[in-house]
C-alpha cells in the first residue's frame, strides 16, 4: 500500500497531536472538530431519514398524514365543539400553523432523547464527537417539517390567505425553533442515557408540552384571562414565540408578537448553551454507562 501515512512520517510533516487524560469538568464544544466530522453528520442525517420510512407502504406520506389528522381532530374538538377562539383565523389553518412547528419540536425531542441510548453500541466502540448524535434527529426532522410545510401552503391557497411581508422573519423563527429543539434535545439525550426514566417520561412530557403551547388556543387568551406579566412569563417557553410568530408572519391576522419572540429567543439561546454545556460535562461517562 502506497500510503500517505508513510509519506507524512518520512517527510516529518506535522501530524495531529493529542493528549488523552482525565476529563475536565467543564468544556466547550470543539467547533473545529465538528467541521472535521461534517461528512459523518451528513451520513447520520441521511441514515436517520432514509431508515425512517423504509419498509412502509405510505412512506413519506406519513409526514403528511400525521399533522393533517391532528388538524382535523383539533378542528372538530376544539374548534367546533369547544369553540375556542382562534384570533379570527379559520380554525383548521390556525391549528395547522401551530402543529407544523410543534410537531417538529416534539419529534426532535423524542428523537434526540432516544438517540444516545439507541446508538449505545457505537458509543462504546468508536470515537467521534458525541454531540453529533442528538444533532442528527434535530436536522433529519427538518425534512418532515418541509413536507408538512407544503400542506400549509396548499391550505393557505385554499383559504385564500396570502402571507404578509413579515414572512421575511420566518427563517429567523425557524432558526429559533431549531435552537430550542437542539437545546432541549441535548439535555434530554444526556439525561436519558444516564437515567432511563426519561424514556418513560418523554411521551407524557411531549403531551404536556403540547397542551401548554398555544397549539389549540391563541396566546392572546393568556393575556385576556391573566395579565401581561403572565403573558411575558409564558413567552419563556420558546415555542410560544415561534408558534405565534408563524401565525403572524404567514397568516397575518395579528402583528408580529415581538415581545414573545424576543423573550423566547433569549431562552432558546440559553437552552442551547446550557444544553451543550451539560452534554459536554456528562459526555465523558457515556461510554461507561451506555
Amino acid at each position: 500500500m502506497k500510503s500517505e501515512t508513510a509519506d507524512n512520517i518520512r517527510s516529518g510533516k506535522p501530524i495531529v497531536k493529542l493528549r488523552i487524560e482525565a476529563a475536565k469538568k467543564w468544556q466547550m464544544l470543539d467547533l473545529k472538530e465538528l467541521i472535521y466530522y461534517k461528512d459523518l453528520l451528513y451520513y447520520f442525517v441521511l441514515r436517520d431519514f432514509t431508515v425512517q420510512f423504509k419498509q412502509t407502504i405510505l412512506g413519506l406520506l406519513w409526514a403528511v398524514i400525521n399533522p393533517v389528522f391532528q388538524m382535523v381532530i383539533f378542528s372538530v374538538i376544539f374548534g367546533k365543539l369547544a369553540e375556542i377562539s382562534s384570533d379570527g383565523i379559520p380554525y383548521p389553518i390556525f391549528s395547522f400553523s401551530a402543529i407544523l412547528p410543534f410537531n417538529y419540536f416534539s419529534q426532535s425531542l423524542s428523537g434526540a432523547s432516544n438517540s444516545l441510548v439507541g446508538n449505545a453500541g457505537l458509543l462504546s466502540k468508536v470515537y467521534f464527537p458525541r454531540i453529533l448524535i442528538p444533532i442528527t434527529p434535530v436536522l433529519s426532522k427538518l425534512v418532515d417539517f418541509a413536507i408538512a410545510f407544503l400542506i400549509l401552503i396548499v391550505m393557505m391557497i385554499f383559504y385564500g390567505i396570502s402571507p404578509t411581508w413579515n414572512i421575511v422573519y420566518l427563517p429567523f423563527l425557524i432558526l429559533m425553533m431549531i435552537m430550542a429543539s437542539l437545546g432541549v434535545g441535548m439535555w434530554l439525550s444526556s439525561l436519558a442515557i444516564q437515567y432511563r426514566d426519561v424514556r418513560f417520561a418523554i411521551g407524557f412530557f411531549t403531551t404536556l408540552l403540547m397542551y401548554t403551547a398555544p397549539v389549540v388556543f391563541p396566546a392572546s387568551l393568556i393575556l385576556e384571562k391573566f395579565s401581561y406579566t403572565a403573558y411575558l412569563f409564558y413567552g419563556i417557553y420558546p415555542m410560544v414565540g415561534v408558534i405565534e410568530g408563524f401565525r403572524a408572519s404567514l397568516l397575518g391576522f395579528r402583528p408580529m408578537p415581538w415581545d414573545l419572540i424576543s423573550i423566547g429567543a433569549v431562552s432558546s439561546v440559553l437552552l442551547l448553551i446550557t444544553g451543550a454545556l451539560y452534554f459536554k460535562r456528562t459526555e465523558r461517562v457515556f461510554a461507561d454507562v451506555a
Binding site: T5, I9, A23, Y43, V126, Y127, A287
Partner: protein, 433 residues
C-alpha cells in the same frame, strides 16, 4: 526514522462496583425501602460516573493501574491477557472512547480504532451507503472514501451486491465489507481488537496480509487478540496484562510462553490424601508428577529426559488388567502425543491397593515450551473407562538461549530430536555413478 506514535503514561482507570442489595425482613421495612428506592437508584446510577470517588472507597475497582508503554510509528504491538485483564479498557482509552482516571496518553497522528467491525452498519441501507456511513464513522471524509471506494468494494468481493440492502447480505458478506472499509483507513495509529477473526479462511488470510501491509506502511498498530497465532505473526513485541497491570513485556514469543504457561500455573506435582482424592468408585488418583531425572537440575531443558509418575488407589473386586493413558499437549492446544500402557507389552493386573505408573520420556525429543497433560484416563482392559481427569499437570521445558545459535527467541518447531547426519565432501565420483 522512528518516532513515538503512542505514549501511555501511568494510565489508571477506576470503576465503582459491588453495591450490596439487602433484603428486607418486615413488610414495613420493605414498603419503606420501596418508597425510598428512587433515591437509592439515583445514587446507584450516579456511581456509574467514574470520576467521582475517593481512592479509599472499597467499591472501587481498578480496571487499569499505572500502565505505561509506548509504540513507535511502524511498530506493531500485541496485547494479551485473560478476560478482565483490562485490555479492552486500555484500547478504549487510547481510542478516546473513555477517559482515564489518572495518567495520560499522548497520541501523534490520527487514530483509527477497530474495536468492532461494521460499527454503525444499518441493515436497511445498501452496501454503498454503509461503506460511506461506516467510513465516516471511522474518521474518513467523503472525498477519501470516494477515492478508495472501488478498492474497498473489490477487496470485499461483494461488487455484485453493493447496491443491495445489507440486510439481504450473508453474515460473511457483511463482515467482509465492514472489514474492507476498516482496512482502507490510512491513519498513523491503528487499534485493532480481535477483528482478524472474521470471515472464512481465505478471507482471514487476506485480512492478515493486509494488516501486515498496513503495519509496514509506517502505521503504528496495537493488536489485542486471544489468537496467539495472529499476535505471533503480526507483532514483534507484546505486552501481557493481568488484573490491570503490565506483568510482562518484550519479545512476543517469550511473553506468549509466559502467558500460556501461566494459564496452568505450572503444576508439576499434585497429591491427595486417600479420603480427599478425586476419582470414581473403582479408582482414586493419589499423585501426579512430572520431574527431571538428573539430580540437582531444577528445570527440564530441551533434550533432557524426564518422567511422569501417576499413583492410583484401586478398589476392584477381582484382579483386572488396568491401563493408564495420558495426552500431552503444547501451549497452543496441539496434541503432541498419547502415552499409554496399552501400547506397551507389559502385562499386569491389579486388584485392590496402590498402583504406581512411571512413564519416562526419552532425551532429545521435545523442544522448549509449555506443555500440559490435558487428559488422564484409567481403563479396565483397553476400552472400559473407569476414570478421566482433565488438565492435571503443566510444566515448562526451558529454552537455553545460549544454545540458540546467537539468536534470541524460540527455536521453531515442536520437537528437538538429535538427528543423525552424514556429510561427505567431494562426492563427484559417487554422483557420476
Amino acid at each position: 526514522m522512528s518516532t513515538t506514535a503512542i505514549d501511555v503514561k501511568d494510565v489508571s482507570k477506576a470503576f465503582l462496583i459491588g453495591l450490596k442489595d439487602t433484603r428486607k425482613e418486615t413488610l414495613g421495612a420493605a414498603i419503606f425501602s420501596w418508597l425510598k428506592s428512587p433515591m437509592q437508584n439515583y445514587n446507584i446510577l450516579k456511581r456509574l460516573n467514574t470520576y467521582r470517588h475517593n481512592e479509599e472507597s472499597e467499591d472501587l475497582f481498578w480496571a487499569l493501574k499505572n500502565v505505561s508503554f509506548s509504540v513507535e510509528h511502524g511498530e506493531t504491538l500485541g496485547i494479551i491477557g485473560d478476560n478482565g485483564a483490562g485490555k479492552s479498557t486500555l484500547l478504549k482509552i487510547i481510542s478516546r472512547i473513555t477517559n482515564p482516571t489518572y495518567g495520560y496518553v499522548d497520541v501523534n497522528g490520527r487514530v483509527a480504532s477497530l474495536l468492532e467491525v461494521g460499527s454503525g452498519f444499518h441493515s436497511e441501507l445498501t452496501g454503498r451507503e454503509n461503506v460511506y456511513l461506516n467510513g465516516t464513522i471511522l474518521g474518513m471524509s467523503r472525498k477519501e472514501i470516494d477515492k478508495k471506494f472501488d478498492a474497498i468494494v473489490a477487496f470485499s468481493e461483494v461488487e455484485k451486491f453493493i447496491d443491495t440492502q445489507v440486510k439481504k447480505f450473508s453474515t460473511g458478506m457483511r463482515i467482509r465489507l465492514a472489514f474492507s472499509v476498516a482496512a482502507h483507513l490510512e491513519t498513523e495509529v491503528m487499534i485493532i481488537d480481535e477483528v482478524l477473526a472474521v470471515g472464512d479462511a481465505p478471507f482471514r488470510k487476506k485480512s492478515l496480509s493486509k494488516m501486515l501491509e498496513v503495519a509496514k506502511s509506517g502505521t503504528a498498530v496495537i493488536l489485542v487478540s486471544h489468537n496467539p497465532l495472529a499476535i505471533q505473526q503480526l507483532c514483534k513485541r507484546t505486552i501481557l496484562l493481568s488484573h490491570g497491570k503490565i506483568i510482562d513485556s518484550g519479545i512476543t514469543d517469550d511473553v506468549m510462553q509466559k502467558y500460556l504457561g501461566g494459564i496452568y500455573n505450572d503444576r508439576t506435582r499434585q497429591e491427595w490424601d486417600l479420603d480427599e482424592a478425586p476419582g470414581s468408585k473403582e479408582v482414586k488418583l493419589i499423585k501426579a508428577e512430572v520431574r527431571q531425572i538428573e539430580p540437582n537440575v531444577p528445570v527440564i531443558r530441551p533434550g533432557d529426559s524426564f518422567e511422569f509418575e501417576f499413583v492410583f488407589y484401586l478398589m476392584l473386586e477381582e484382579e483386572t488388567n488396568i491401563n493408564v493413558t495420558f495426552h500431552l499437549n503444547d501451549e497452543y492446544e496441539n496434541l503432541v502425543f498419547i502415552g499409554s500402557t496399552a501400547l506397551t507389552n507389559i502385562p499386569y493386573t491389579a486388584g485392590t491397593g496402590y498402583l504406581k505408573t512411571i512413564c519416562r520420556i526419552p532425551s532429545d525429543l521435545l523442544n522448549g515450551g509449555t506443555y500440559s497433560v490435558t487428559k488422564l484416563f484409567v481403563l479396565k482392559g483397553v476400552s472400559d473407562l473407569i476414570y478421566e481427569h482433565n488438565e492435571i499437570l503443566s510444566f515448562e521445558i526451558t529454552n537455553n538461549y545460549a544454545h540458540a545459535h546467537g539468536k534470541i527467541g524460540k527455536i521453531d518447531g515442536l520437537l528437538k530430536p538429535k538427528l543423525h547426519w552424514e556429510v561427505v565432501a567431494n562426492v563427484e565420483s559417487e554422483i557420476m555413478l
